[in-house]
């Protein structure tokens, strides 16, 4: 049976502790992304490339919907250290609703409204060209632990083949009130803050959602700021 220390797992008091992260590998499409998973507004199939043979079990969660808030689209690409597209990355977003409330029991601010159909959580698998697209609403501003309002932001987790553990970052939005005084952005070296700010894409006037561009550069020139906490 070998060295006893090597037989211990998380059932043994001496080894008890955080289960280590492992990469999602190249086949996470089997389970994690779903059609419509990148669309928090509802009405599209964004989120999951077709990598499963027909006839296999597909997840069919209830559709998302959000009726209040400014509709936005976020497009971008995931790029590696040679600026090559990453075709097997998974992005997860977590955000407050338009009123600045998280759809979660751990948000104690019951005075702020919830909205049926809006969960605040989305997933998008990258396409063969590394691209992804989220459809959602501009999140409301939420306080930091001192009561100061943060700029509107999405929490972003980046997973994928080659990523042994999740990288976390945030998306802020060009031109939004509160970016200048945001307590998290203030901790980022000024020369790197721009990597966290989605840029407004010029578009024809009309009813289309406002469109933003946010690229995730995993390494090298213009590397995205990733956080530890």
């Amino acid at each position: 049976m070998g060295d006893p220390s090597r037989m211990a797992d998380n059932q043994s008091p001496e080894l008890f502790g955080q289960t280590p992260w492992q990469t999602v590998g190249p086949y996470f499409h089997l389970r994690l992304p779903w059609r419509g998973g990148a669309d928090l507004i509802g009405g599209s199939q964004a989120g999951a490339p077709e990598l499963m043979p027909p006839g296999q079990l597909q997840r069919e969660p209830a559709a998302s919907s959000a009726t209040s808030g400014r509709r936005i689209e976020i497009v971008g690409r995931v790029l590696d250290g040679q600026a090559a597209p990453v075709p097997d990355a998974l992005l997860e977003i977590w955000q407050a609703n338009a009123a600045g409330r998280y759809v979660c029991a751990a948000d104690p601010r019951g005075e702020l409204p919830l909205e049926a159909g809006f969960s605040g959580f989305g997933r998008a698998a990258s396409a063969p060209d590394g691209s992804f697209r989220f459809l959602t609403i501009m999140p409301g501003r939420v306080p930091d632990p001192h009561g100061a309002l943060q700029g509107p932001h999405l929490a972003v987790g980046v997973l994928g083949r080659g990523l042994l553990k999740r990288l976390v970052t945030r998306i802020y939005f060009e031109g939004e009130a509160g970016n200048d005084t945001d307590p998290i952005l203030a901790l980022v070296p000024p020369r790197r803050r721009g990597t966290l700010i989605a840029r407004r894409i010029a578009q024809a006037p009309g009813g289309a959602p406002a469109s933003y561009r946010f690229d995730v550069r995993l390494q090298g020139e213009g590397e995205t700021v990733f956080f530890a906490y």
Partner: protein, 263 residues
């Protein structure tokens, strides 16, 4: 390993509060919210760069991570699992007309936090290869048979005691291109949302006495003894007589710090 910066959580630009409070949403949204942060990652977590795992070389940051305090954003997380993740799939052997080939197994255990408290009502998403080591995925080109009776996908939610259980078949090992004659040990992918964005975990569960673990670049990204936290153990008590072998695998998520912080 990085240490949590003791001073960071109280430091912020002096202009921040007043300026933010004059923002568009008014005072209601700025009521201070008590936050009990989650602990940072422990020494058992792998580095993002692990050169022996070739895929990590160009996909790991070179700049240092920026340490920031947790806010309401990080200590909340999705919890509408039924709606988001679809119906429960706790038995991977009954999703098709017939039974899949391979050794039928029962995986069970508890999800706990670092304070040894059960994590109730958290979603575990599961995916794996079939008994021959082949995934139902268009990009898996290994020449091993698909099983028409096995997809290899599941989803369970922990009960009030943090317990979970699913039934599947033992996945096969398979070759991959990381280096010459590289083989992945048998493993099951497990994805946990946990109670908060900060507690997210995706791991791989390995089987005891698998000789391939020692030569696997992904498992070896985690140093011993911590690597053993990813190895399930055989358990005769959860083995079901004349039906299926039982393995126990407890999963530990980041736990909260002892003291809440309040502004």
């Amino acid at each position: 390993m990085e240490q949590r910066g003791g001073g960071q959580e109280t430091e912020r630009p002096s202009a921040g509060r007043g300026a933010a409070r004059s923002g568009a949403q008014g005072a209601a949204a700025a009521r201070p919210v008590r936050i009990t942060p989650y602990r940072p990652e422990d020494p058992g977590q792998p580095n993002s760069l692990c050169p022996d795992y070739v895929g990590s070389r160009l996909r790991s940051p070179r700049e240092p991570l920026v340490r920031v305090p947790e806010t309401l954003t990080e200590v909340t997380g999705p919890d509408e699992f039924e709606r988001l993740l679809g119906p429960a799939l706790a038995d991977l052997t009954t999703q098709h007309a017939g039974a899949p080939l391979g050794q039928r197994i029962i995986i069970s255990g508890r999800v706990l936090d670092e304070n040894r408290r059960p994590v109730a009502r958290t979603a575990i998403e599961i995916w794996q290869a079939n008994a021959a080591g082949r995934y139902v995925h268009q990009q898996d080109e290994w020449d091993a048979p698909l099983d028409p009776n096995f997809t290899g996908v599941g989803r369970v939610i922990t009960d009030e005691a943090g317990r979970y259980r699913f039934v599947t078949v033992r996945p096969g090992a398979y070759p991959w291109s990381n280096h010459y004659n590289a083989w992945r040990p048998a493993h099951i992918h497990l994805s946990l949302l946990g109670p908060a964005f900060a507690t997210r975990l995706v791991t791989q569960m390995y089987f005891p006495d698998d000789p391939l673990i020692d030569i696997d670049a992904v498992a070896n990204a985690v140093a011993l003894p911590y690597r053993q936290r990813m190895v399930a153990h055989f358990d005769i008590h959860s083995t079901q007589c004349a039906w299926a072998l039982g393995y126990v695998f407890d999963i530990v998520l980041r736990g909260r710090e002892a003291t809440p912080m309040q502004a």
